[in-house]
Amino acid sequence: MSKKEDEITWKDIEIGAIVTEPGSTAEYKTGDWRSQAPTYNTDRCIKCGICQVFCPEGCVEQDAGGYFIANMYWCKGCGICARECPTGVITMVEETE
């Protein structure tokens, strides 16, 4: 659906709420669920990508410098990346908002 999820009216709902467009769950802002966020001490990062492989949301992206950083739109703060990182780059901190 071309509309954002909070713009969809009841008339836009497909028959039986069937989803006809692949990949539409990317719209779901799972980042809303987060109570902790990963923070990075990139000095120790060896760019191994383990955090990306283990992230259940698939939200870890590689930035221009080759570092692996979570996209906060989807990161749900589960802490798996922090646990799996072999060099202790990632620390989970409480969300304040």
Binding site: E5, I8, W10, E14, G16, A17, I18, V19, T20
Partner: protein
């Protein structure tokens, strides 16, 4: 033109599903629905009915298998009763919310406990809010005709909703009645081909039964409610088409000597036949009593109902289910709610009777009418009365 034959109503229902050219049946036998699915299994085994019969391990699986079948674009039928309907309860919501037109005959039965296999409408009422269209047959002919109509209604692109056709357990399922069985060609002409708009198809994949977070769930639910309410004119349209094709006209209500009557009995299902005999007797005695039977329970026919009872002073509503600790039998509560905003409204008295297969006789209806008139005159501090229970 079909032939009038003597046939057990359960068998007639199975044959109505066959005449409707059903593709898939997934069902689990349970009293008093057993003869329906036994006969369907026989028809498939003998080759008379070219359909897939899926024996399943429970009613929960039966309904789940039906959903899969109907989602591929296959015309699908099942049947259940009482506890079986309860076991498939959660899947019933999935059928209606996913807009999958499974057609199901329900042989209405009392719910445990105490264990009881006989007829009442506790099961019918327990699924009232599952979002299905619910048609209540008063006799064998209505059961056959409405199974056929249910396919036309449910599969209509403007509707796409599952439909239950209710028949009273034993009172209808196990009796031999004269029934006109329509011809296969006539039924073929009446029910358009089933063409689900978004079927399961590997060429064009879709996601069915997806997740809807708070930002979408209420929109999905409103769409579903608007759809069920909006099915009313389409139901009437198919009943009219059926009337023209087969000469038997159905509507949301059935009236019997109700024109201008000051007291109206209100019933649902097979007890209407006995109630009409009671009305005849009371009319002969000069009492101004008529009968209105409700055939369409969901969507509730508010406009037709208000119109039908407009001139009455008293309604005597007979429920065959209890809403424990509630405002009355479910039928009576809805009748009251439907009339609350009317400027001129009849008094409404509610009786619960015929639970667990207890017969309601002609004298029983006369008693309830007499008691209703008494309550209307003297008042009562009770929301409803349970009729015919030994004190």
């Amino acid at each position: 033109m079909g032939e009038r034959i003597g046939i057990e109503v359960s068998q007639a229902i199975a044959e109505a599903a066959m005449l409707s050219n059903v593709d898939v049946i997934a069902a689990y036998p349970i009293t008093p629905q057993t003869h329906i699915v036994e006969h369907l299994a026989e028809l498939v085994a003998s080759g008379e009915l070219d359909a897939e019969y899926i024996p399943v391990e429970s009613e929960h699986s039966a309904m789940s298998a039906c959903l899969g079948a109907v989602a591929t674009g296959a015309r699908t039928f099942t049947a259940t009763a009482g506890q079986g309907l309860e076991l498939m309860h959660e899947v019933l919501y999935v059928a209606s919310s996913m807009r999958l037109p499974v057609i199901m005959s329900v042989a209405n039965r009392a719910l445990s406990g105490p264990l009881n296999v006989w007829g009442d409408q506790s099961d019918l009422m327990s699924v009232r809010d599952t979002g299905w269209i619910q048609i209540v047959a008063a006799n064998g002919q209505e059961a056959v005709d409405n199974v056929i109509c249910a396919f036309a209604i449910g599969e209509d692109r403007r509707v796409l909703l599952p439909v239950m056709v209710h028949v009273d357990g034993f009172y209808l399922t196990h009796v031999i009645e004269p029934v006109i069985m329509p011809d296969r060609e006539e039924v073929d002409r009446f029910i358009p081909p089933y063409d689900y708009p978004l079927p399961l198809d590997t060429e064009k994949p879709v996601t069915m039964g997806a997740f809807a977070p708070p930002v979408l769930y209420p929109e999905a639910k409103k769409a579903q409610d608007v759809n069920l309410r909006g099915s009313m004119p389409v139901i009437l349209e198919h009943w009219d088409r059926f009337g023209k094709a087969f000469g038997r006209q159905y509507g949301p209500l059935e009236h019997y000597r109700s024109e201008g009557a000051k007291t109206l009995l209100l019933t649902m299902g097979s007890i209407g036949d006995t109630a009409s005999a009671a009305v005849d007797k009371m009319r002969d005695e000069g009492k101004d009593v008529g009968l209105v039977q409700l055939r369409l329970w969901r969507p509730f026919p508010f406009a037709e109902f208000r119109n039908a009872v407009r001139d009455a002073d008293l309604l005597v509503v007979v429920d065959r289910a209890i809403s424990f600790g509630g405002p009355g039998g479910p039928f009576c509560s809805e009748v009251r709610a439907a009339l609350y905003d009317e400027e001129k409204r009849p008094k409404v008295t509610g009786f619960i009777a015929g639970l667990g297969g207890r017969d309601i006789t002609v004298a029983g209806f006369e008693d309830m009418v007499a008691r209703g008139i008494e309550i209307a005159e003297t008042g009562t501090d009770q929301e409803y009365e349970i009729y015919g229970v030994r004190e």
